[in-house]
């Protein structure tokens, strides 16, 4: 099923939480909604899940406009909330029974769904324990499991890995990949670019409630003015003449000297790097340490907003 967000807008009093958000989530793909704190990710998810009515714009599922309250279209959606929403003192199994019951599941079908989501999230051996006795990662996994019981074709995950150890994080990623592989459409919000790079087929970058970019990772890297970076360390930093020469080399887009560290940006490091090293060596500057880094989402975000994801 296709989920379309069409020019969504939402204000809370004077605060515009979501100003203009549009995108389409398609079956079998994970769409990453990447943005810093307060970007409007959760508010967007609220509108996608039919919790909040947009001030303008609409959400459609296979062309049907999504309403709030008892709208049956909501059955196609599964929501994994940012705040863990579990019955802390009741056993995991009872949590699952409850959330399945909310969607009208009962008896044998419910039992078999519970068994399969427990297996998917590797919680089968802890089904009898209450989440209050779980680790952070296990609670996150159960939080996800609770959204899967009614087999939603569209899954909305709002920062599902917050406070999770690396092992559980990988388990969650595996689960998400399985779900996408089954042909579901997934919307995944996060402010970790590594997660988006690893998981998402399509990336929507939002900031201040607006979509800044909507593309695949490769597309984003190609379309934005970001480049790969070569970092060189010298005992004696290159002089002005050498720097001018390097800046004028073909393929070099930018250079920066910070103390003894020189960084050189280039679209194609393969051809630019040897020329840079050669020219510096000819000028008598011998390099002590050398690293190279491919451009990443962080650079994309920086180039789009002038800020890094981290320091917002």
């Amino acid at each position: 099923m296709h989920l379309v967000a069409d020019r969504l807008e939402k204000k809370f009093g004077a605060i515009t939480a979501v100003a203009d958000v549009s995108f389409t989530a398609v079956p079998g793909q994970v769409l990453g909604l990447l943005g810093p704190n307060g970007a409007g990710k959760s508010t967007t998810i609220s509108m996608l899940a039919g919790l909040t009515k947009p001030d303008s714009g609409c959400v459609t599922i296979d062309g049907v406009t999504l309403g709030t309250g008892a709208d049956p279209t909501k059955r196609h959606l599964g929501l994994v909330t940012q705040e863990i929403a579990l019955l802390e003192e009741l056993p995991a199994r009872m949590n699952l029974e409850f959330f399945g019951g909310l969607y009208g599941l009962r008896g044998r079908p419910l039992a078999s769904r519970i068994a399969s989501v427990l297996e998917l999230t590797s919680l089968a051996d802890r089904a009898g324990d209450p989440p209050s006795q779980f680790s952070g990662g296990m609670r996150r996994r159960l939080n996800i499991a609770c959204a899967l019981l009614h087999e939603p074709q569209i899954l909305l995950l709002d920062e599902p890995t917050v406070g999770v150890d690396p092992q559980s994080r990988n388990a969650i990623f595996d689960t998400i990949e399985v779900l996408a592989g089954e042909g579901r459409a997934l919307v995944y919000t996060t402010h970790y670019m590594e997660e988006v790079e690893r998981l998402c087929d399509r990336i929507v970058i939002i900031d201040h409630g607006k979509v800044l970019a909507d593309d695949s990772l490769a597309g984003l890297l190609a379309s934005t003015a970001v480049s790969n970076k070569l970092t060189l360390k010298y005992d004696l930093p290159p002089d002005g003449v050498a720097l001018t020469e390097i800046a004028q080399l073909a393929g070099v887009t930018q250079i920066d000297l910070a103390g003894t560290e020189l960084s050189v940006s280039a679209a194609d490091l393969g051809t630019a790097a040897p020329r840079v090293l050669e020219r510096l060596a000819a000028r008598g500057f011998s390099c002590q340490e050398l690293t190279s880094r491919r451009a990443n989402l962080e650079d994309v975000f920086l180039s789009l907003t002038g800020r890094t994801l981290r320091d917002t």
């Binding site: 809370f12 609220s46 899940a49 039919g50 919790l51 909040t52 709030t68 309250g69 008892a70 709208d71 049956p72 279209t73 909501k74 059955r75 959606l77 929501l79 909330t81 940012q82 705040e83 863990i84 929403a85 579990l86 019955l87 003192e89 009741l90 009872m94 029974e97 409850f98 399945g100 019951g101 909310l102 969607y103 009208g104 599941l105 009962r106 609770c146």
Partner: protein, 382 residues
């Protein structure tokens, strides 16, 4: 439709499972009312509870003698500032005392004057037997009325020809407790009052829990399911009502088995009053959840409000000890109707009809509270 029913059941079962899960809280929630009620019942059921300033006691008088002396005594009683007298037939007196409209009634027998004056001259002669019908719920009323009666008779009878001072009263008093119940139990009232107080506390807890649910994101999660407001709030009312009835059942079981409280009136009437009160507690909680903001402030205000309500409802000190104006004012307090309704069906031993008004009032207040809750409930955030 069946999906909605299944969802409704899941929501109700969840609330009840959470309530039953916490064994310690569960025990506290039924044990506290029992312990406190036992204490109050012990206090008020004991003998030494006179000395309170009370409002004018409504007392019925039946004069079967119609003699100069009996008329004079009746007249004298009429002018007593602590009594509000009313001349009635003996049969009517009995009815009124039983219905709680009169605190007591005095019946002067035929031949009262003749026998009383005879007894004055010769202590060994036959004493007239004056009946004192009294409402056994109020242990202090009976001695007060008996004392006043003796005082007025002595005053009147001594005027023409009485010489000595320290003579015994020239009549005997036949004290008759009038209640249809098999016997008065001092615990009955305190159990009504305390179960009401603590069930209301539970209602507040349920409301505060809903407030917490909204803060912690569970409410958001629930609203993601295709469920109407009616299902989400209605299930909450139903589960809280069921829990309230559970507490009432356990507390009254203890009252009956351990403290000898009897439902001397109508059992269906008792169930009606109890159920409608349980509903009231649930809607009170819902209203709190809809108007409250922070958990701490809401809990504080709600507890204060409940204490005020139960105090004015006569759960601590029976309402008949209130000054008269306060007795009237508190007719606008729902808990007053709950206490009176439970009292009527237990020790007062009144028939089903006496449960109708309290039930109707409690249901009316429940509807009002539910409407306020729906009106004020903020669906947007949280």
């Amino acid at each position: 439709m069946s999906h909605t029913v299944a969802a409704f059941r899941a929501l109700v079962r969840k609330d009840i499972a959470i309530f039953l899960r916490d064994r310690r809280a569960l025990i506290v929630s039924v044990l506290t009312p029992i312990v406190v009620a036992a204490f109050f019942g012990f206090l008020f059921g004991g003998t030494g509870s006179g000395g309170n300033a009370i409002s004018r006691l409504p007392v019925g008088i039946t004069d079967l003698d119609n003699s100069a002396l009996s008329k004079a005594v009746v007249d004298s009683l009429k002018h007593d500032a602590s009594l509000e007298t009313q001349l009635v037939s003996e049969e009517r007196a009995q009815q009124l005392v039983r219905a709680g409209k009169l605190r007591a009634a005095i019946v002067f027998p035929g031949g009262f004057e003749a026998q009383a004056t005879g007894a004055l001259l010769d202590a060994g002669s036959q004493h007239p037997e004056v009946k004192l019908l009294y409402d056994p719920s109020q242990s202090m009323v009976q001695p007060v009325v008996a004392g006043l009666l003796t005082q007025h008779v002595m005053q009147r009878i001594s005027r023409p020809n009485f010489t000595g001072n320290a003579r015994a009263a020239p009549f005997t008093l036949d004290r008759i407790a009038v209640a249809t119940g098999p016997r008065y139990n001092g615990y009955a009232h305190s159990f009504a009052g305390m179960s009401i107080q603590f069930v209301l506390f539970m209602g507040i807890d349920a409301g505060v829990a809903l407030l917490l649910m909204r803060q912690e994101g569970m409410w958001r999660r629930l609203r993601a399911a295709p469920l109407s407001r009616a299902v989400l709030l209605g299930s909450r009312v139903v589960s809280t009502t069921i829990i309230a009835m559970f507490i009432l059942t356990v507390v009254y079981l203890a009252a009956c088995l351990i403290f000898g409280v009897r439902i001397s009136g109508s059992v269906p009437g008792f169930i009606m009053v109890a159920c409608s009160f349980a509903l009231l507690a649930a809607t009170t909680g819902l209203m709190i959840a809809s108007v409250g903001r922070t958990v701490a402030a809401t809990r504080g205000v709600a507890i204060f409000a409940v204490l005020l309500l139960v105090m004015l409802g006569g759960a601590w000190v029976p309402a008949f000890l209130f000054p008269e104006w306060l007795q009237h004012v508190t007719e606008f307090v729902p808990t007053r109707w709950a206490v009176d309704g439970l009292d009527a069906m237990t020790w007062r031993g009144l028939p089903l009809q006496a449960a109708l008004a309290p039930t109707a009032v409690l249901l009316g207040f429940s509807a009002l509270f539910a409407l306020i809750a729906i009106w004020r409930f903020n669906w947007e955030d949280g």
